[in-house]
């Protein structure tokens, strides 16, 4: 309920809100500022000077490229796995009734409620028990556990809002299972999958805890940054990479937010 009178909030409240926002976002801005400082060993305030040198330095560091490419690869693979498995699982849970349906739903969602450290330890001991060497795939597997949840949640919500009789109508009009999926199901859940997929990508891209347990000697971007903070050498490079990470993860989340927001109306227009 919105009141008709456009009374403005009291000054104290405005100040508190501004302080809260600053507290949340000022540190992020500081990271951006230090990406351009001339001082490379300590975080000195105010920065003694500004330079674009670190962009070039970062560009020429092979370890940055390795970490970035591993992170992108892992995020992309986990997202693909999550979209396929999450959608299938969501379809099964929301479209049919079977024994243990609620249990399966709970088990799928559990990994995101479980502390990452538990998932990490569990996977690590499982890998060592089965003598699986650490590789890109062990990281992907770890990330997929929580990426599936994100896609699943998005898809389940959309499936619930889409009328079940749409599928029957399609079959009734002569479309087989594949045609029904392509012409009716996919257009109706597409934006939910895209949103879920982007969120999954962003989650995977900056994941630290599960990754430390499943990566072995490999370095994803967040792991590389942790290592980098310990060494006081070319510190602003870390900030440049942080800036890139913010952009890479924030953009998909924003896009997915706008996609699901708009699609509420599309999905609800069935009746």
């Amino acid at each position: 309920m919105r009141s008709d009178r456009s009374t403005s909030a009291p000054l104290a409240l405005k100040l508190a809100a501004a302080a809260g926002l600053l507290f949340l976002h000022l540190p992020i801005l500081l990271i951006f500022v230090y990406a351009f400082t001339t001082e490379e060993k300590t975080y000195q305030w105010p920065p003694p000077g500004f330079t674009l040198r670190w962009l070039a330095v970062t560009w020429n560091r092979p370890d940055v490229w390795q970490a970035l490419s591993l992170s992108v690869k892992v995020a992309a693979l986990s997202t693909v796995i999550a979209i396929v498995l999450g959608t299938l699982c969501a379809a099964a849970v929301s479209r049919t009734r079977f024994f243990g349906r609620e249990t399966i739903s709970l088990l799928v969602i559990l990994p995101i409620a479980l502390p990452g450290i538990i998932t990490g330890i569990a996977l690590r001991s499982a890998f060592s028990l089965m003598e699986i060497p650490f590789s890109t795939w062990t990281i992907v597997l770890g990330h997929a556990t929580f990426c599936v949840v994100v896609v699943y949640n998005n898809a389940v919500a959309r499936f619930r809002r889409t009328s079940g009789s749409l599928i029957e109508a399609s079959m009734d009009l002569g479309a087989d299972g594949f045609q029904t999926f392509r012409h009716v199901v996919l257009p109706n859940i597409g934006t939910a999958l895209l949103a879920g997929g982007m969120l999954a990508f962003a989650l995977s891209f900056d994941e630290v805890i599960v990754t430390t347990f499943t990566a072995g000697q490999q370095q994803t971007v967040p792991i590389w940054m942790l290592e980098e903070l310990v060494r006081p050498r070319q510190r602003p490079v870390t900030n440049v990479v942080a800036m890139i990470v913010v952009l890479v993860t924030a953009l998909p989340i924003l896009v997915s937010y706008y996609l699901t927001r708009d699609s509420d109306q599309i999905a609800g227009a069935g009746k």
């Binding site: 009328s163 749409l166 029957e168 109508a169 399609s170 079959m171 009009l173 002569g174 012409h183 009746k271």
Partner: protein
């Protein structure tokens, strides 16, 4: 003549629930057939069995003589108008209507032309570019109808298609559906819980209760000669008379039914006929419905508009023609 749809001892059980229980049924080609019954009586399940969304637990369904067992919905020459219309929200009206042709691989120009014609048939020409969300309930209903007709089905199934419409629209759609069915000559199978709708539109009506068919017949048969108490009561709130009462007037110990409009109400209490006391009056516009108490038996009578009305509490005498009293089957 091969029936359009025939059920032979068809059952559909969900766990212990017998949604459809050993139903035998024959629907003739070109017939407007109504399945009437309260909710949960199995009529919609029967419709879904014909469409192929459900498989019978036992028995056989034949559609124009062909065994339907194992034939998926998309290979049956049967189309459905769904209760919630089930229009595809992401497609515009024209593509919704053309969907059945699209999945059959008919070219864009040809299928759009056919869809335009189908829209004209349901009196919605020029609505093709709109989205279903931009249409009113009545318009969506017509689009659903056009979409179901585009594949030229041999049987059209309608699942309470008028349920969501307001009274005025429902009446005009009833008329239109009837005209459409007559001009197309397609077999219509129509599910409804509204007995007025079933009686006014259908050539024949099947009355369902608890998964079984209680009676099949023309609307006149069903209305005037109900075979059981359930049919008498469900179709048009008839007076169901117990055997004792019937024996006094017809000489046979059977359940009987008497239509409210068949009872004449005389205001002098001492006259001949059944003595009763007026309990309440309901004004219906074209008539007034009296609730009467005849020595413990609750009866209803309708008095046409303009006739003299008794007061509540007044004692009246009820008379009726012997032939209006319909005797039901033994044990019904």
């Amino acid at each position: 003549m091969t029936p359009a749809v025939s059920f032979t001892k068809v059952s559909r059980h969900f766990g212990t629930v017998r949604a459809v229980d050993a139903v035998d049924l024959e629907i003739q080609p070109g017939e407007f057939f109504a399945m009437l019954g309260p909710s949960g009586s199995g009529k919609t399940t029967c419709l879904r069995l014909i469409a192929g969304f459900e498989q019978p637990t036992a028995g056989h369904i034949r559609i124009f003589g062909e065994e339907a067992q194992g034939v998926p919905p998309y290979r049956r020459n049967v189309n459905t108008v769904f209760q919630d219309y089930a229009l595809f929200p992401h497609l515009n009206v024209l593509d919704n209507v053309a969907y059945g042709l699209m999945v059959r691989g008919i070219g864009r120009a040809e299928r759009h032309k056919a869809a335009e014609e189908a829209l004209a048939l349901v009196r919605l020409p020029g609505f093709g570019a709109r989205k279903p969300s931009q249409l009113s309930g009545g318009q969506r209903q017509r689009v659903a109808l056009a979409r179901a007709l585009i594949n030229r089905p041999k049987v059209l199934l309608l699942d309470e298609p008028l349920g969501a419409l307001d009274l005025k629209l429902r009446e005009s759609m009833q008329e239109e559906l009837k005209i459409l069915q007559t001009s197309l000559g397609i077999t219509f199978v129509f599910v409804t819980h509204d007995q007025g709708e079933a009686l006014s539109m259908a050539d024949r009506v099947a009355v369902f209760n608890e998964g079984r068919i209680m009676q099949v017949g023309t609307p006149q048969d069903i209305y005037q000669k109900p075979r059981s108490r359930f049919v008498a009561d469900f179709v048009g709130s008839s007076n169901v008379l117990p055997p004792d009462f019937v024996q006094r007037y017809a000489g046979q110990r059977r359940w009987g039914s008497l239509r409210p409009e068949s009872i004449r109400v005389a205001r002098q209490a001492a006259g001949e006929g059944v003595q009763a006391r007026v309990v309440a009056l309901n004004y219906l516009g074209s008539a007034t419905r009296l609730s009467l108490d005849a020595g413990g038996l609750r009866l209803h009578a309708t008095v046409p508009a303009g006739a003299a009305l008794p007061e509540p509490g007044e004692h009246v005498a009820l008379t009726f023609n012997r032939e209006q009293l319909h005797l039901m089957e033994e044990g019904a």
